[in-house]
Assembly symmetry: C2
Homo-oligomer: 369 residues x 2
């Protein structure tokens, strides 16, 4: 293989495929970036067996070929090169000469014969959305996937397409995040569960520009995200997602409208009194025009009053402060509405337009004053 | 104790005294900030028994008193308060009510009776230098102190005052850093060894402004740095510092003048091929007008040519690339001069004005090509 490309294109490409380099693996080939140069196209590829990324970089091919090089090594090196043309040349033993201005590196490469290429996907139906929308919607839901692999389905997010809307759902047993986005056209109905871990990586790669789009293909086992010069392939999680609709309700006994920033600042202070593993709840006392926030822990206590608009009954209810905070942090509205039934039933934070619903289960606070 | 002060002054003060809060200690009182309010002055104090910091913050005292509060807790809280007046009120059990706008914290405090106050220092002779100069000179030497406590003296820096100059020296057995600064006047001769760890913390607190000064007092056991509203007291390291002058030499067989950035960039690339614990040297081949840089490791090799001005013999010499890089990173000159005797003797990087000398010992490279 003999190729030339610009340092900046190489850095950009390497940064993208790095997202699918596993931090720990016993298969050292997975810690390599595969560089292929065929048919006039230079492609960088990485694959952690769950997530695979291909990205095309501009450049010239003098001799076709392929080489796999340790991802950390090549990343560190290309970042430190002068801003100029980079030349890579591989010999029959995959020793790779990398030159740029006066720097001449000789790097140990590998054939890449054992590199697991991402599955080839039959690309039929797909949906198109803006990169901005996808990036946002992942950020706004990803925090309530479960880390823990005990329930595999909870580690993923539901993508449900119905006509011209897509619903994205995540839940971890304590809370549910739901986002509805309008699509530009109608598509066939579809329901898949995408691993949360791969969505986090996709979110980092997406440019977030409104004008740029991403095409999403689904097959039985995979989802493919195509955008710019990059193709991200991820395995899907098998199984049936939870029946979310059954957990929803439009009824309430108490409704509170509050400035999001006031509530967020207050809970951020309350959380400072909660030491790790100490499950102290934050208590909301909702009365006419006033929310009183209270927390009590071994290291101290906090009381704060925030003015609100209230409808319905007074209520006292306790929450894990982190769960409320996580939802508030991703809601774009300045004023939010919270709906309650009683101190044992879930609280809903939702807008009138049906763009988002955040459900948070309350916690028992009988033992605290 | 009853005091009021602005949130911002409190944050600033807490950030300063935090530098002497030990990350690990069995004495929990050391993890507290002591707040004292006497004679119209509010002082925050911390002390890790080697380093003590007092800083005065503006505010009103309604009732004199003292309380010790967990440093992490109070730091986290004050940062999250609204930008307004903070009121602190302590009861007879040292429970501390901290209020700011609608937030009312109740925090567990301590009497502070067991708090180790910094030694009271008899302040006689002192020197005055600009904060900028002190901050710079610490940054430019601190990296070559030894981490390892086997040789206590190497963990400190020599401050040697002779007439109107101060020499700051650090060494770790492989290299020596020397900085000479001109003082505004002559002072009595003095030689002390200040712990490197406390100098790092002082460097962080110093504002770095040229117009602001710092007074440095020395006693037999302590050094005291007074600046702005802050007093930093540090224990000195006992013993006689190494005889540096005996290690210096103005003779050389080879002199090389080189653009610092070229050399730095090149060594930064070379270092990428050195894995941790792998002591591969970078080889300098100095010939007429050209420095060739080479490194060879298990993962690859690098060759680079840099144009230089040379005086004297050609030379091949090997270095730990990190040691050369550390020195280059803190030298302010764009063009530097390096002086060599032979491949076994130390290399000197120094300027003509005598502001700095960096000595680096070479390493054996017989085993590499």
């Amino acid at each position: 293989m003999k190729i030339t490309c610009s340092k900046n294109d190489l850095v950009k490409g390497v940064n993208i495929v790095n997202k699918a380099i596993p931090s720990k693996t016993t298969m050292t080939i997975l810690q390599c970036i595969l560089i292929t140069a065929y048919n006039g196209v230079i492609t960088l590829t990485s694959n952690d067996t769950e997530l695979g990324i291909d990205t095309i970089i501009p450049g010239n091919i003098e001799e076709e070929g392929v080489v796999a090089i340790d991802a950390k090594l090549i990343s560190d090196i290309v970042r430190k090169l002068p801003d100029n043309t980079v030349r890579m040349e591989t010999d029959e033993n995959f020793m790779t000469k990398l030159t740029c201005e006066n720097s001449k590196f000789n790097l140990v490469g590998r054939s890449g014969d054992d590199f697991p290429y991402p599955d080839d996907i039959e690309k039929n139906d797909y949906i198109t959305i803006s990169q901005y929308t996808l990036k946002e919607v992942i950020r706004q839901t990803i925090f309530s996937t479960a880390d823990n692999e005990n329930n595999k389905i909870m580690t993923g997010e539901l993508f449900e397409i119905k006509g011209d809307t897509m619903k994205i759902v995540s839940l971890d047993g304590h809370r549910i995040s739901i986002r509805n986005i309008e699509l530009r056209q109608s598509y066939p109905d579809r329901k898949v569960i995408v691993p949360g871990k791969t969505l986090s990586e996709i979110e980092k790669i997406l440019s977030g520009e409104i004008e740029r789009t991403v095409d999403i293909f689904f097959t039985d086992n995979n989802a493919v995200f195509e955008f710019d010069n990059t193709i991200v392939t991820t395995r899907l999680i098998e199984g049936e997602y939870f029946d979310i609709d059954r957990m929803m309700s439009d009824e309430y006994e108490t409704k509170m409208v509050i400035e999001k920033k006031d509530l967020m600042d207050s809970i951020e202070r309350a959380i400072l009194l909660v030491k790790e593993n100490d499950k102290k709840p934050v208590i909301f006392s909702i009365s006419q025009d006033l929310l009183e926030i209270k927390i009590n822990s071994t290291i101290g206590s906090l009381n704060e009053d925030i003015s609100i608009e209230k409808e319905g009954f007074d209520l006292m209810i306790g929450f894990n402060p982190k769960f409320i905070l996580d939802a508030l942090r991703v809601i774009e509205d300045e004023k939010i509405s919270m709906y309650f039934m009683n101190s044992k039933a879930p609280c809903f934070i939702k807008d009138d337009g049906g763009r988002y619903i955040y459900l948070v289960l309350p916690v028992n606070f009988a033992t605290v004053s």
